[in-house]
């Protein structure tokens, strides 16, 4: 494994995980602010344990799947996932749908938990823990998929995992210092970039799974990423123009 092969997987996993971990952190922080760190930590630990179980269960199964079938299946899923992110980020950039707002999500989660407190005083600690667990589990599932998707096709699970863990560590470190939702993270820009990278990986692996020999091999990924970047920017520009015309 060379650095040039590992770097795209590591970077894609790091950036994608950064987006997901920021979202999970906002909800865990809301739980911790309202109900203390105990239910937040317990819920988070339980969520991470379930995720670890999923990885341990699925990991060995991946080795049993023929590489071309694995590349095709993961390529198609990456294509759907990546293009979905790129579409959403482009629409947000064009002002068609509102930007993701961590402060608003924090306020919504806090209000929901306060409401729960009024209704069921006794079981609030439990409800808070479950909220943290759900946030970690739901966002973590996407992280697990991204790590497996960008890593499994080429034996790059280790660099992809390192990228995801680095994102977790970075968010936790910043979160521990600032103690508030990380609303200044340029989430849409990150999502746009990750959408571009995952779509490029998706086309590359779907093609390899179908038996297409891409010219330039791994270097073709750079061309694909540049083309998806261009398509996202053009699409976003046209969408903004159309929004104004149809408004």
């Amino acid at each position: 494994m060379t650095w040039s092969t590992a770097a795209p997987a590591l970077t894609a996993a790091f950036l994608a995980s950064l987006v997901e971990v920021v979202e999970a952190f906002t909800i865990v922080l809301a739980v911790a602010t309202l109900r203390g760190w105990r239910p937040a930590a317990l819920g988070t630990t339980a969520g991470l344990a379930v995720l670890a179980g999923i990885v341990l269960l699925l990991g060995p199964l991946l080795d049993r799947i023929p590489i071309t079938s694995l590349q095709l299946a993961i390529g198609i899923l990456l294509l759907l996932f990546g293009m979905g992110w790129l579409r959403k980020a482009s629409l947000r950039a064009a002002g068609i749908i509102p930007l993701h707002d961590e402060d608003a999500i924090f306020a919504t989660e806090a209000a929901a938990l306060s409401d729960e407190a009024r209704r069921r005083q006794q079981s609030l600690g439990w409800a808070a823990g479950i909220t943290a667990l759900k946030a970690v589990l739901l966002e973590g599932l996407e992280v697990v998929f991204i790590v497996i998707a960008v890593g499994a096709g080429r034996g790059l699970l280790v660099p992809a995992s390192v990228g995801a863990l680095a994102a977790c560590a970075l968010v936790l470190a910043i979160g521990a210092v600032v103690h508030r939702p990380l609303s200044r993270v340029p989430e849409n820009l990150l999502k746009f970039g990750v959408g571009v990278m995952l779509s490029a990986f998706g086309v590359f692996w779907t093609g390899e799974g179908l038996g297409i020999a891409w010219p330039g091999q791994d270097a073709a990924l750079l061309l694909f990423a540049a083309l998806f970047l261009g398509a996202g920017l053009i699409g976003s520009f046209l969408a903004r123009k159309l929004r104004v015309e149809f408004a």
């Binding site: 293009m83 579409r87 068609i96 998806f228 699409g235 976003s236 046209l238 149809f246």
Partner: protein, 71 residues
């Protein structure tokens, strides 16, 4: 059960964000696969269809979403 339902919805939502785009991408993959495996054409023809088909689909979907003003 509620959490399992939410997990299932999350998993499906990861790949089927917009049904029309999902169906169109899967169709392109199927056509490209057929070209590569069941015709005598150079496999790069299928590759080009896969790549440029996805790019065109993305731009078309963004324009249609903008016209409809929906997410």
């Amino acid at each position: 059960m509620t959490m399992l339902n939410e997990l299932a919805a999350e998993l499906i939502g990861m790949f089927v964000g917009e049904k029309r785009l999902t169906v169109a991408v899967l169709t392109i993959v199927a056509v490209a696969g057929s070209l590569v495996n069941f015709t005598d054409l150079n496999s790069l023809v299928g590759g080009a269809l896969l790549l440029f088909g996805c790019l065109v689909l993305l731009i078309e979907n963004l324009c249609r979403s903008a016209r409809a003003g929906v997410s």
